[in-house]
Structure formats: structure tokens, C-alpha cells
Symmetry: C2
Subunit: 329 residues, 2 copies
């Protein structure tokens, strides 16, 4: 018999009763670029909203090869064994281009993916209003409504992805490697200013001493940066996904952070601000897209850019001309 199409209620009840198949289908629904699916997705989300917000949202970034996946697997497995329910999501803006997910690959987290308390969701690709950003945020909300206690959001330093993830999590963690000499090689400008903690990974065997040196160096740099979270001083730590050393400490740091910021009110204030900022981001993206997709605007842009770049037309004149074309639609 042909499978009955799920109603808004089916989705909502499925998520709330923690039905893994329906959780996955609901995520697929909000990820869809089909306007009908999007509409249904929003109706589902509306009903789930009262059940969201009860997880700890942790963002994890670091250069490729830093060992983010093995670290997430180690942390996630430890938490699952403590009885916590853990969801792993990925924000990967590059997947729109590569036509596939390079993150959140289940096969890279074999132990964790088999644990009944874990839920791993590879990254979505782009699309309409809000794109990857919207989909990751709404997936996070669905996971919260499904009772996950900890959401781990993995990202790789592509484009603005660290800023995006920072804007949707409570705690943001940078995974670093001890490099050959220059420990900071590969860190993108400004990323260290976004983090609540740095973990130097692969601090095991003969790498341990070098890792401790890198940790000290990072602490010196962090000292000069303005902390991103009011009332919390970011510090550097060492860990090893291989030996498991430092993984329990990582969770202790996150708990100390949430305890402190929840008591001070910083935690809730940030969450409210994140949601409101996100609404305006979507509005501005939409306005910008409408402008650049306007047929006459987009066809004249190469001409205008050339004239402005050559100094034949002033930037103000050019802006006025473009806006006039846009508004005479």
C-alpha cells in the first residue's frame, strides 16, 4: 500500500515522541526548497517551538585535519554513555558547491552513530530564504523538541561559516593542532576572537610536550583578545581524541560556562538576540537577493561596476541609478 503522506500533526507528534524516522523526515521537510514543503515545515516548527530551547548548543570549528570528527565522536560517546541524548549537526556552506556533504559524515563517527542516544545529521545544501543557515538552525530546533540534551554543531572554516555557527550556539570551541613551528598557521583572521575555548588536539605520545607549548602560546594570545561572552574568559586546553585525555575536562568547561552564564542571564540574553538577529539576517538577505536578481539591475551591473571602478561615474551616482532601476520595476 502507498505510504500515506504525513500531516502537520504526524510530524509534530513523531518528533515529540522521539520517533527517529519522523525526526529525520521532519528535518528533510524543513530542508526542502519546495514552497509547499517549506510552508508545512513552518507549520510543524510553529507547534514544536514551545518544546525547544532546552539543550546546550555547542559549536565546534577547526581546520580540516584538526580531528574535529574524532573529537566529536569521543565527546558524544562519553555523553551518550552518561545517559544524555546527543545530536550532531554540520554547517558546511561549501556543500552547495561540491554538491555533497563533507561534514557530519556518519561513516566517520562509527561508534557514535550506532549509539541509541545519538543522532547524526549531515549538512544540508543551500537553497531559498536563509539557505544552509536557516536549515541548520531549524534542524537544531527540531532536535531540541525531540529531547536531545546536547547539540554539537560542527563546521569547517569555509567562508563565513564560523560566524554563522557562532551566531547559533551557546558555546563555541576551536580545535587546534600543534603544527610544525607556527602553531597558528591556518587560523583564519578573527576566528580566535569568536571562541569560548581552544582545545589543542592530538596531545598524546611525543606530541604531548609540543601541545602543552601550543596551549601556553594560545593562552598568551587569548589574553590580548576581548572575550566574546560577557563574564567568561576563554582559555586554551589540551586533549586527545585518541587516548580520551581532556574529553571529560572539555565537558566540565562547557558546564562551567553554561552554569555561569545562566546565572548571570548572559545565556538567555544571547539566545534571544541570536534569534532576533537571525530574523533580520533573513530579511536583509531577501532584500539583497531581490535587488541583485532584478533582471534590469543584474544586466546593467557589469557596465556600472566598470564605470565606477574606472572613476567615470561616482559611487553615489551609480548607487542612485541602480536604485532607480530597481524601484521602477
Amino acid at each position: 500500500p502507498r505510504r500515506r503522506r504525513l500531516t502537520v500533526n504526524d510530524y509534530v507528534e513523531g518528533v515529540l515522541s522521539r520517533n527517529r524516522t519522523i525526526i529525520a523526515q521532519t528535518i528533510t521537510l524543513v530542508e526542502s526548497n519546495n514552497p509547499v514543503h517549506m510552508e508545512t515545515g513552518q507549520q510543524v516548527l510553529k507547534q514544536l517551538l514551545p518544546y525547544t530551547g532546552n539543550s546546550i548548543r555547542v559549536g565546534i570549528t577547526g581546520v580540516p585535519g584538526a580531528g574535529k570528527s574524532t573529537l566529536i565522536e569521543a565527546l558524544g560517546t562519553m555523553l551518550c554513555e552518561q545517559g544524555k541524548r546527543v545530536a550532531v549537526l554540520a554547517v558546511d556552506p561549501s556543500s552547495t558547491i561540491t554538491k555533497g556533504s563533507i561534514l557530519g559524515d556518519k561513516t566517520r563517527m562509527e561508534t557514535l552513530s550506532r549509539h541509541p542516544n545519538a543522532f547524526i545529521r549531515p549538512s544540508a545544501s543551500g537553497g531559498t530564504l536563509g539557505g544552509v543557515n536557516r536549515k541548520s538552525r531549524e534542524t537544531m530546533l527540531i532536535c531540541e523538541a525531540a529531547g536531545f540534551d546536547v547539540i554539537l554543531v560542527e563546521t569547517v572554516g569555509v567562508g563565513q561559516s564560523e560566524v554563522t555557527v557562532r551566531s547559533m550556539v551557546d558555546f563555541f570551541l576551536l580545535v587546534m593542532l600543534t603544527g610544525g613551528g607556527d602553531e597558528l598557521q591556518g587560523i583564519k583572521k578573527g576566528v580566535m576572537e569568536l571562541v569560548d575555548a581552544i582545545f589543542v588536539n592530538k596531545a598524546d605520545g611525543k606530541n604531548k610536550q609540543i601541545a602543552l607549548g601550543a596551549k601556553a602560546e594560545f593562552n598568551r594570545i587569548l589574553h590580548f583578545l576581548q572575550p566574546i561572552t560577557e563574564g567568561w574568559t576563554p582559555k586554551a586546553y589540551t586533549c586527545s581524541a585518541l587516548t580520551g585525555e581532556g574529553i571529560a575536562e572539555m565537558w566540565q568547561v562547557i558546564q562551567a560556562f553554561t552554569g555561569k552564564t545562566q546565572r548571570s542571564g548572559v545565556f538567555d540574553t544571547r539566545r534571544r538576540k541570536q534569534t532576533i538577529d537571525w530574523m533580520y539576517t533573513m530579511v536583509e538577505d531577501y532584500l539583497r537577493t531581490s535587488f541583485f536578481n532584478h533582471p534590469e539591475v543584474s544586466s546593467i551591473i557589469p557596465v556600472i561596476e566598470k564605470a565606477v571602478g574606472n572613476g567615470e561615474v561616482s559611487a553615489t551616482m551609480a548607487a542612485k541609478q541602480l536604485l532607480k532601476i530597481f524601484e521602477d520595476q
Copy 2:
């Protein structure tokens, strides 16, 4: 007899013939928020554009009290005595609020302001399309058409002003003080990543040793940051506006920078990009302002923000609702 109103040609010829009174009047014209003046201003600017672009544009920032004005006076006077023509502008977003200019005050640069080769213009206040930002850029263009060889743009670290100034100059310089212990106190997040050089000011008398220490510290930090200008490594230096030590070196650094970046093409590429980016900034500002000034949008925003912040409405739903209101105008 009543003074005849200047025509577009009067302004253009006055600027090109370096008539100081008309230069000042032309700046007042482009600074005006009156639509008729703005229109005339743009016509004048259009004719001046072919004569612009021949100066070196230097941005200077630093916390209040770092001695920016005395340093500008020292550098500007030295350049004027070498026969160069120097214009000093100020970008001060706070002047909109304080209803007055806190920067570029002629009385603070007495020697320089009396020099025939110098031209000092206090900062403009806000207004329509582009505001302070537009006015400063267009004032810079007028000064270039009037044959000034060096434009010094002073700013204080208010809001986004460093980013604004960085986006309109070739070389960006941070003036620092040696503080009591923590040399970095007061530096805003991310500012050190925008600069091409740091000058530790007041390196005189018993302060000299401390200044040398601060310089070494800044060099260590700069080493970890990604340089803002391709092919140029920012470094820290010491100087004293009081004794004049380091002022000649400051100019040598700027000349080494322009020589190197002009040969590599980075100089011209950045200027073109700055102008095009600036055009799009005006377009986006306009779109954003149209949205937020839309009467029904602005009246519903407090309600929507509250509902989104409380988790009663999803950010996506709220964004859609706001955009619907905006587009049904």
C-alpha cells in the same frame, strides 16, 4: 550686492584652480542634506572625478588621548615644509549624536592650520544616503581634484568608524600609547587586524624605554595576525609628536608601502574594489532604511521582536511576515 549663486562650473573651476574658499564651499555642497544641493554636488563631483585619485590616502586611528592630532600636526607640517599639499579630514560618526565635531578641530592643529599648503576640514554630521561615510569620501575626492598630495583621515574608535576609514584609505595607521602595564588596554576587537602599521606615540623622556617594550609586544602580536594588505607585513614603530622623533620614519614607511603596492598592482586593485564596495554599501543601506522606515513595518517590529525573542513565532515565519507587509506597500 547679493552674492551670486555658484554654478556647477564655478564650483568645478574653483576647485581645479585651488581656490580655498570654493573648495570649502564645494565640500559644504556635497555635505548638504538638501536634495537640490546634493544633486548639484553630484554634478560637480562628476566633472571632478577625472582629476581625482592622485593623492596618498592615509587613515589614522587610536584611542582618545593617544595623541593623534599632535601627530597629524607634526607629520602634516613636515610634509607641507617639503612642499607637499596636505588635507586633513575627520570621520567621526559620534558627531551626529554630540551635534558637533570632536575631531579635526582646527584649534588643535594651530601650526598646521596656518600653513598655506594645509587644508583642515572638521568632520561632517550624518544625514541621507551614505551619511558621514559618503561625505568623507566625497570630501576626499574634492581635495584630490584640488591637488592635495596627501590626505590624512583621522578617526576615533567609535562604532564602526575604523572599518569605515579602512575602507576608504590606502594606508591605515594605529596610534598607540604605552599604558600602565597592559599596553593593549582600550584597543577594540579586530582593529589591529585592519592596520598597516602601529606607531607607539609619546616615546620620549622616561617613557622611551616603556614605548620600546610596547613596540616589541605589538610586533609579537602582529606576527600572529593575517596582514590586511597583500604583500605588506605590518610592523610596530615608536614615535614622539613632541620631539619629532619617528615622524620622518612614518612617512618613509608610508612611501615604502605605496611604492611596493603600486608596483604589485595591489594599490590600484584595492582602490577600485573600495569604490565598488562603497556603491553596494549605499545600495544596501538604502534598501535596509526603506524597510525599517516603512510605517507598517516599523510599527509592528516591537511586537514581532517580542514574539520571536519569546519563542512564540519562528524567525523564518516572522521574516516572511515582515517582508509580506513591506512588499504589500
